[in-house]
Symmetry: C2
Subunit: 459 residues, 2 copies
C-alpha cells in the first residue's frame, strides 16, 4: 500500500478555510493538507477520503492534528509597510500631514544610516509582524542601501517571505536636505545595486525575498528619476511599489505637475505593470481603475491609514467589481496597527461607512453610497489571496500548487478575547469570529514556504 501514497513531507489535519475570491469562502470541517519538502502544497483531501485515511493510518507521525479550537488559514499578506517608521507606531497621529512628515517621519527615516539602530528596529518589526500572522510583507525601506539590505537579510533569517524596496526620493522641492537621494543618479544606481544585492543574498536561492523598485511617490521624485526607475523595472523584471492618489493634496499635486492623474503619469514612466502594487488610491477615477485592470496592477488598500491621511474612503467594492486586484496593507506607521487582521476589520468598517454615509444631518435617503459594503469573506480574501494575486505569487489559499504559507489560529488561546462559545460553531462562523476578534495571542503557529517560523507570539 505504502508506495500508492503521494510523496510528502508533512500534513496538517483539521478545520481549514480560505477565500480564493472576494466573495468566495471555502471551508472544510476536517481536511488534510499535504506539503512537499520544498514547501509546495501537493494535496488537499477531505479527511474521510481513502487516501487521507491511509496517510493518517500509515504516517501518523507526519500529520499535525489540529485541536477542535484550531483552524488553518492562509498566511496574511501585508502589501504596504514603511519598515523604518515602526518606532513611531501609535504616536504623532494628531498632527497634520506636513508636520507628521517633516518633524517626525523624515527625521526618523534618516536615522537608518545607523545600522545598529536599523537592526534593532527592523528585528522588532519583523518579529512583531510574524507573531501577528503576516507571512508575506511588502516593505518600503529607506534611501540607505545598507540598512535596507539588512531588512531583507532579517526577513530571510527570521523566515518571512518579503519584497523589499530601497526608497528613491531625489526631488529637492519636496524632500528635506537631511533625507534625500544626493542626486538622480544616486537614486537610480542605488536602486539597481540593491536589486542585484537582494537577488545575490546568501540563503535567497529560492527568492523568497525579492527586491522592489520603489519611488516614494511622485512628489518626492524628479521626472528623470521616475523615468529611470521605469527603465530599471523593465530591465530587471523587479516588482514596483509606490503610492497612488492617496489624498486630495497628493492627487492634485500630480494633476498640476504632470497634467494627468498619478496612474497615467506612473504608467507613462513605465511603472505600471502586472508586478506593480500601488498603495491607497481613494482618489482613483474610474478611468484610472480601468487602466490598472488592463495592466494587471494592484492596489494595496490601507483602510486604517486612510482614516488619518486620505480624506476619503477607497471605493473597495467598486474596484473589486471592475476586477481590480486589491490586497490589504497596514501602512505602518500611517496606520497605527501592525495587525493585518485589525486592518481586515477596518476594510469592513470603512466600506460600511462609505455605504451608510457618516453625517446624521443629511437625510437617510441621501446619505451614503449604495452597494459599497463588504463583509468578512471579502476582508479575509484581501488579507490572504488578494495579496497573493496582487504580487503574482502562488500564495494566499490552499490551492494545490501554492506554497504552504499558513497560520494556525486558536480561538480559545490563553489571553484570547474571542468569546468562549458554549456549543459547536460552523467553520464559517469561526472564521468570522477570527476576522472580527482574533489578536496576536490567537496566532498559534506561523508557516512560510512549508517551514514553521513562529515563536514570537509571547515575545
Amino acid at each position: 500500500m505504502d508506495d500508492a501514497l503521494p510523496s510528502f513531507s508533512f500534513a496538517v489535519r483539521g478545520a481549514v478555510a480560505d477565500a480564493p475570491g472576494p466573495e468566495e469562502l471555502r471551508t472544510w470541517d476536517d481536511a488534510l493538507v499535504l506539503v512537499a519538502d520544498d514547501g509546495e502544497i501537493i494535496g488537499r483531501y477531505d479527511a474521510d477520503d481513502p487516501i487521507a485515511r491511509q496517510i493518517v493510518r500509515e504516517r501518523a507521525d507526519d500529520v499535525r492534528q489540529l485541536s477542535p479550537n484550531e483552524l488553518l488559514l492562509p498566511g496574511l499578506v501585508d502589501l504596504h509597510i514603511h519598515a523604518p517608521q515602526w518606532p513611531q507606531m501609535g504616536r504623532a497621529l494628531q498632527v497634520p500631514l506636513e508636520v507628521w512628515l517633516q518633524k517626525h517621519t523624515f527625521p526618523l527615516e534618516a536615522r537608518y544610516e545607523d545600522l545598529e539602530f536599523a537592526k534593532r528596529s527592523y528585528r522588532d518589526l519583523v518579529e512583531t509582524l510574524l507573531a501577528n500572522g503576516t507571512t508575506t510583507g511588502l516593505y518600503f525601506g529607506t534611501i540607505h542601501n545598507e540598512a535596507t539590505l539588512l531588512l531583507a537579510q532579517l526577513c530571510l533569517e527570521l523566515g518571512q517571505r518579503a519584497l523589499v524596496g530601497r526608497l528613491a526620493m531625489d526631488n529637492p522641492d519636496e524632500c528635506p536636505d537631511f533625507y534625500r537621494d544626493a542626486s538622480t543618479r544616486a537614486a537610480l544606481e542605488g536602486t539597481e545595486a540593491f536589486i542585484e544585492d537582494v537577488r545575490a543574498l546568501p540563503g535567497n536561492e529560492k527568492a523568497t525575498v525579492k527586491p522592489v523598485v520603489t519611488p516614494r511617490f511622485i512628489p518626492s521624485c524628479t521626472d528623470s528619476c521616475l523615468e529611470g526607475l521605469g527603465e530599471l523595472a523593465e530591465k530587471t523584471g523587479a516588482h514596483v511599489q509606490t503610492h497612488v492618489s492617496e489624498s486630495d493634496w497628493e492627487h492634485n499635486y500630480v494633476l498640476q505637475r504632470h497634467g494627468k492623474s498619478d496612474t497615467q503619469s506612473l504608467s507613462d514612466f513605465g511603472l505600471v505593470n502586472r508586478h506593480t502594487v500601488l498603495a491607497h488610491g481613494p482618489m482613483l477615477s474610474a478611468g484610472d481603475m480601468d487602466h490598472l485592470v488592463e495592466q494587471g496592477a494592484a492596489v494595496a488598500h490601507c483602510p486604517l491609514s486612510n482614516i488619518y491621511f486620505s480624506n476619503a474612503v477607497f471605493p473597495l467594492r467598486a474596484a473589486l467589481a471592475k476586477g481590480l486586484h486589491v490586497g490589504l496593507g497596514t501602512d505602518i506607521s500611517g496606520g497605527p496597527s501592525p495587525s493585518l487582521l485589525e486592518n481586515a476589520r477596518h476594510a469592513v468598517h470603512s466600506s460600511r461607512m462609505l455605504e451608510e454615509g457618516v453625517d446624521p444631518s443629511i437625510e437617510g435617503d441621501a446619505r451614503g453610497t449604495p452597494d459599497s459594503r463588504v463583509d468578512f469573506v471579502t476582508a479575509l480574501h484581501l488579507a490572504t489571496r488578494g495579496g497573493g494575486i496582487a504580487l503574482d505569487l502562488p500564495i494566499g489559499s490552499f490551492e494545490v500548487g501554492h506554497r504552504f504559507d499558513a497560520i494556525v489560529v486558536d480561538i480559545a488561546a490563553p489571553g484570547s478575547n474571542i468569546a468562549r462559545v458554549l456549543e459547536g460553531l460552523s467553520v464559517a462562523d469561526r472564521v468570522q469570529q477570527i476576522v472580527f476578534n482574533a489578536a496576536r495571542q490567537n496566532i498559534a503557529e506561523v508557516w512560510v514556504e512549508g517551514s514553521q517560523v513562529s515563536g514570537f507570539r509571547h515575545k
Copy 2:
C-alpha cells in the same frame, strides 16, 4: 516623624496619567498615589515631594513601585454592554438588523432562563472585560430576574464595579412571543424586585453593584411600561439606561408613534435625569442635546457598534462642545470588540471620518463636517472620567476623593504589539501608544475600589 504621615493602606509610585476633561491630559513622570483602606484616593504627590519621600523611606513595603515600562491609568468605564449577547460576539454581523434581532439576538437572550447557561456565559464575559481593563460596566441583562441577579452577583464576586439592568420589554408589536415580558405589570414588578434584590445582595454593602431601570428601547415598550419605569426611577433613585436615536429606523419609529423625538418622549416619561445613560444618539438633534445637558443626562458613545447599526456617526465633538456628558460603550455584541481601548480608537477614527467625509466622488471642499475630529486625549477621557461623570460616580481620574479604580499598563509586556521604542518617551507619548495599540496583554494589573482583581489576563 511617623505620625506626621497620612494614614493609608498602600501607595503606587511611577508614571501616572489621567484625562479629567475632554481636552485635558495630566501626566506625572513620577508620582505617588495614596489609597486608604476603604479604596479612596487620599493623596497624590510628585515623588520628590517631602511627604512622598518620607513615605517611600518609612513604608517601602506598602509602596508598589512601577517599572519604567509601566504606567498607571484610571480604570476603563464601559457604559453599554448587552451581557447576554456575549456568545455571539464577532458573528452574524453581515446580516440586516431585523435578521440580527429576530433570528440571532432574541433567541440567544431568551436562553438566559437557563441559569447554568447564564452562569458560564456571564462569568466568561466579566472575566474578559476585567482582563481588558474595564473596571466599571453598565450592563443590560435580560427579562429574567434570576439570571440578571446572577450577573450582579458575579460582578461582586469577581470584583468589578457594575450597574446592572433587568430588561423591560413588553410591547407585543415589536417583541417576539418567545422573548417578552408577559405583561406590563410583569415588567414593572420584575424591575422593582430586581432593584431591591441587587441592593440587598450579601457583600454589596458599599453598593459597588447598583441596579438600573432598563427599558430596552421605546419600540420594545408600551407607553404604560415606560410610564411605570419612570415612576420607579423616581421612587427608587436608581440609574436609568436605554437606547436613544440610534438609527434612522428607530428615530423615525418614535417620531411616528409619539410625535416627538426619543429624548423628549423619554423625558416626558420621567426617564431622563442626572443618572440616565442613553446609548448611541447619532440622530439626536441640537435641541435634544440641549435638553440632555439641562437634565445632566449622558450619552454612551458606541463608535464601533454604530458602524453596524446606526447609519451615521455620532457628532461627538459637537456634543462635547455643548457640555453633554459623554462616555464610551462597547455595545457588546453590536460592537464586536470587548476592549474599551479598541472602542476609544474607534472614537478617534469615526470622528475623523465625520470631519473628512468618506465619499471621494465629492470635491474635497464639500466633503465632510469641519471641526469634528477628536484625538487620543479625548478618547482616553471618554473611556475613563467621561464614564465616571456620566454615572455620577467618583471614578475615572486620580483626583483625591475618587475611588481607586485603576489599571497598570505595561507597554513592553510579552505578546505586546506596541513597538519597542529605542529611547525615552514622554508619558503623553506613551499614553498615545496605549490608546492606539495596547491590548489585553498590556493590562498588567486591574484595581477596583482599592483591591486588585486581575488574574484573568492570560486565562
